[in-house]
């Protein structure tokens, strides 16, 4: 006997994804983020990428926690679940384990994902459940009107830290890598093309994919990332990392990153001392390198790395669970409750 879910999955298996446009993923709800919020760009890029994934809308689910970012599911015309603070990762985990046939996305923020949901976050990374996690990092609590967050820079003056925050921030990419994530990337709200490429790669990855998106909160933390996103500074402050390519940056592509021992350092390509051949070449399959690159994040003398830090294959939790079930059924046959109840010691009273 099949379960109702198996019936549903089987009966809808033949339905192909339609030729969607970005508009097909918009809902009839008014988008309620503040005008100018970086979230608008993330919503637009996600809606733009969705039609390219070839996944039917009815197979797609967005799960979120609490915070400005977590309003996201209301604006995506897929299945959606706006849950409670910090728990989207845990809810999505259960959903994906129960329903491996679905494409499940988690939308979270730096407070939701790194603070109250920090425990679920690290365990999701190590388990490698096939979920896609988009973390909108604006380095502030927006919905509760402006307290510092676990990614705020040290000394941050906010309503709850009028004398400056004392705690050192998380670097979400390093946290994910340290939790044995298999796909870790960073992108920028003001770089639509880059973001689309990263979201697409995240969707294609088998296992948990984690994407940190630098997102401007123009009300409570305006300009937190402007040095990395604005025209006049970004060439000097950001290095885009790409698999198989040397790390080059600067307005005239005149600077590069080279490894001195295990430490990255900036070198000039103009003074004749170093050439492109001396530069660090990115390899997104190299876990050691991923740590070194992510670690550049809080080093002020180095450009901020943006791109895919790591993309490796490791057994996927939800697939492994299905494999255990199939294996058990091959070995023992499909479980029969009547047999189970009378197994072992039982006796008959006449």
């Amino acid at each position: 006997m099949t379960t109702l879910i198996e019936d549903l999955v089987n009966s809808t298996a033949g339905i192909p994804a339609q030729k969607y446009s970005a508009k097909d993923f918009a809902t009839d709800q008014d988008v309620r983020w503040c005008p100018g919020c970086g979230d608008y760009s993330i919503l637009a890029q996600t809606q733009r990428v969705m039609p390219d994934l070839g996944i039917p809308k009815h197979k797609t689910v967005f799960v979120s926690g609490i915070g400005c970012s977590s309003r996201f599911p209301y604006y995506m015309d897929t299945f959606g679940f706006h849950s409670i603070h910090g728990r989207a990762t845990a809810i999505a985990s259960g959903l994906k384990i129960a329903r491996p046939d679905l494409s499940v996305w988690v939308v979270t923020g730096d407070g939701d994902g790194m603070s109250i949901g920090g425990n679920h976050f690290i365990h999701l990374m190590r388990r490698n459940i096939d979920l896609n996690v988009l973390l909108f990092n604006n380095q502030i609590y927006g919905l509760t009107k402006g307290q510092y967050s676990p990614t705020s820079e040290i000394g941050k003056i906010t309503k709850s830290t009028p004398f400056g925050s004392l705690d050192f921030p998380f670097n979400p990419a390093s946290l994910a890598l340290g939790s044995s994530a298999t796909f870790v990337a960073r992108t920028l709200d003001r770089d639509p093309k880059h973001m689309q490429g990263i979201i697409k790669r995240a969707a294609e990855h088998k296992g948990t994919s984690f994407v940190e998106i630098y997102q401007n909160c123009n009300v409570f933390n305006d300009g937190a990332f402007f040095q990395f996103t604005e025209k006049d500074s970004k060439d000097e402050t950001v290095v885009f990392i790409e698999h198989g390519k040397p790390l080059i940056f600067g307005k005239e592509k005149e600077k590069g990153i080279r490894l001195n021992g295990f430490s990255p350092e900036v070198v000039s390509l103009k003074d004749g001392k170093y050439s492109v051949n001396d530069l660090l070449v990115h390899n997104e399959k190299d876990t050691t390198l991923s740590f070194i690159l992510a670690d550049m994040t809080h080093k002020p003398h180095l450009p901020r790395p943006v791109g895919i830090f790591l993309a490796i294959d490791r057994p996927v939790y939800d697939r492994e669970m299905d494999r255990q079930i199939s294996f058990a059924r091959e070995q023992r046959g499909i479980g029969d409750l009547k047999k189970l109840f009378t197994s072992g010691d039982s006796w008959v009273v006449q």
Binding site: I5, I15, P73, S83, I91, N119, H120, A328, L337, L340
Partner: protein, 613 residues
């Protein structure tokens, strides 16, 4: 060989006690299984410390297992025991208070050396003075006899020492005329790849039997005839196993996958262990990183169309509280099973209590009503889990299922139900977008529709923010909030139309009604039976549905002059009954981490009947 007399007994209570490393739980379980197969009715109570291996010989390291069996109906593990098997001085000291005057003590004399006596706090050896004169004491050097039985085997002293519980088991099998086969078969399966351990245990078990048969030490052995249970096929089952199987049966009859999200916690972990075995049945178990992820993953699975459950104990429920509120708001089916233990805080992890009733009924922010069901016997946990699932699926609501440490770990014979006779509880998923509204409601049950991801055209969003009636869109409208709060309450209230009326055991009116719930059922039943045999006008009402309550509860309460509510808490159900039905019910409360003792309750009842209370 001396002639031994055989005496017939109607019922016996035996308590096995030793160090927590002595294998007393195993000994008790083996004696239980053999006794069950012989056809006795029985009830068991494991009583063990939270420490896995507390220092040997200490009072806090004593582990006990009590079995009460007989040829008549057995409702409780017994207030006191007739026989105490004590493997050392500490086991004797801790358990002597539960032995009836004139009862028997079988002691392992090797466990009474100077060190043992000191650890147990004895200034002199109780076996050498007359402090045990009101009991029959059988002194056996179990350790030495075990070693002798194994002397030609080349096995470690540690292994020899760990086999001595089988000597004690062999003695008890002889004394109560039980066959060795069940335990022999079990040993052969358990140690099929460890022939030395198998051989050693079999030898020691038989040595214990033969020692009792041959020596003069025991003059009498006893027979306990099979009980007259209703016809059917039986097995022995613990409450935790029955809960697990009840959920499996519910998933089967609902045509759904069973998903358990859980975090290990005493005394509920055995449900997680049990369900983890059944991969071939398609059961998915997820050991989460914490209690919150346990329930959250279950909510996710429920959103995906599984029969989703989470199992825990009181501290875990405290952590899950916010997520339970979410399940109330999104109106998804979910069963939260709380195997209650002594609280507050970490409390008494391995002891039983009934102090989480008010937590289950009211312990959430906002108006967050949900159904609460309590199992009353170990085997009844099966039906309770099935019923909790039925209600969750039919009414699209989280349900709290209350059991307790005594029910979860205790065991009794269970008449194996006919699966075909259990009702079909499969839900109707929405299949078509025509007229679909996420928060429209069934006319009768007020349940909202279950629309599963993967169904074309049903894309919709749910969440923890207040919902607009019918559309499910986010709404801050004051009138809508008032309406939704009332609708959620009304939905739960209407379940009262879908559950059986409460039934009084005994006369429907009279001087005194004993009202109980949960694991006290057996004790209360015995007490009421004895009171009625004395000619007193006492009846018993045991509530399985704590929210909503059966429609006739108020009516029943008014038919008695006094209502007494015995609970293993400081008066939680009594508070609810008084506020709901305005009756002057009084409580009888003992919070010792143990099942209620009948004798104390009977004194209270007789005082009430005499008009002294």
């Amino acid at each position: 060989m001396a002639q031994k007399t055989i005496e017939n007994l109607e019922e016996v209570t035996i308590r096995f006690a030793g160090d927590s490393g002595d294998g007393m739980q195993l000994t008790g379980t083996q004696f239980t299984n053999t006794t069950a197969i012989l056809g006795n009715d029985l009830s068991t109570l494991p009583d063990y410390p939270a420490e896995i291996r507390a220092p040997a010989g200490t009072l806090f390291g004593v582990s006990g297992f009590q079995i009460h069996f007989g040829s008549n109906e057995i409702n409780t593990p017994g207030d006191h025991c007739d026989v105490l098997v004590a493997m050392n001085a500490a086991a004797l000291k801790v358990n002597l208070q539960s032995l009836l005057d004139g009862g028997s003590i079988i002691v392992n004399t090797d466990g009474f050396n100077d060190k043992n006596l000191k650890l147990a706090g004895y200034t002199q050896n109780p076996l050498k003075d007359d402090s045990l004169s009101k009991f029959r004491v059988y002194e056996v050097d179990i350790s030495k006899l075990t070693a002798l039985a194994l002397q030609d085997m080349t096995i470690s002293g540690k292994l020899i020492d760990r086999s001595k519980n089988f000597f004690a088991l062999g003695m008890m099998y002889w004394m109560y005329n039980r066959p060795l086969e069940t335990t022999l078969d079990w040993l052969k399966t358990k140690f099929k790849n460890k022939p030395e351990i198998l051989e050693a245990n079999i030898r020691v078990l038989k040595a214990g039997w033969n020692f009792s048969e041959t020596t003069e030490i025991f003059a009498v052995r006893y027979d306990v005839a099979p009980a007259k249970l209703p016809p059917g096929r039986y097995r022995n089952i613990t409450g935790n196993q029955a809960v697990a199987w009840g959920f499996m049966a519910a998933a089967k009859k609902a045509k759904l996958e069973l998903f358990l999200g859980s975090y290990p916690i005493t005394p509920a972990s055995d449900i997680l262990h049990e369900l983890s075995l059944y991969k071939s049945h398609g059961v998915k178990t997820f050991q989460a990183e914490d209690e919150i992820a346990g329930i959250s993953s279950a909510i996710g699975a429920s959103f995906g169309g599984a029969l989703a459950i989470t199992t825990t104990s009181g501290p875990g429920v405290a952590l899950k509280t916010e997520a339970i509120g979410l399940a109330v708001m999104v109106e998804l089916p979910l069963v939260i099973c709380n195997v209650q233990r002594g609280g507050p805080s970490t409390g008494l992890p391995t002891k039983t209590e009934q102090a989480d009733l008010l937590q289950a009924l009211y312990g959430r922010n906002g108006e967050a009503p949900l159904p609460v069901i309590a199992a009353s016997t170990p085997s009844g946990c099966f039906d309770a889990a099935f019923e909790a699932s039925r209600i969750a699926l039919k009414y699209m609501t989280p349900v709290i299922l209350l059991t307790d440490g005594y029910l979860g770990n205790g065991s009794e014979p269970w008449m194996i139900p006919d699966l075909d006779a259990l009702p079909d509880i499969s839900p109707s998923f929405v299949t078509t977008p025509e007229g679909f509204q996420p928060y429209s409601r069934d006319h009768d049950t007020l349940a909202r529709p279950w629309a599963i991801p993967g169904t074309p055209g049903l894309e919709h969003r749910i969440g923890g923010l207040e919902k607009q009636d019918i559309t499910g869109n986010v709404s801050y409208d004051p009138e809508n909030h008032d309406l939704m709060v009332r609708l959620r309450a009304e939905k739960i209230e209407r379940i009262a139309n879908d559950i059986p009326l409460a039934e009084v055991e005994g006369a429907p009116s009279g001087d005194l009604l004993i009202v109980g719930w949960g694991g006290t059922y057996g004790s209360l039943k015995n007490v009421v039976a004895r009171q009625r045999a004395k000619g007193h006008s006492v009846s018993h009402l045991h509530l399985r549905y704590l929210n909503p309550m059966p429609r006739n509860v108020g009516e029943i309460l008014l038919k008695f002059k006094h209502v007494l509510v015995p609970e293993i808490n400081l008066g939680q159900l009594v508070k609810v009954l008084r506020s709901k039905y305005l009756v002057p019910a009084t409580g009888f409360n003992k919070v010792r981490g143990l099942p209620l003792r009948s004798a104390e309750l009977e004194i209270e009842i007789e005082e009430i009947l005499k008009g002294k209370r």
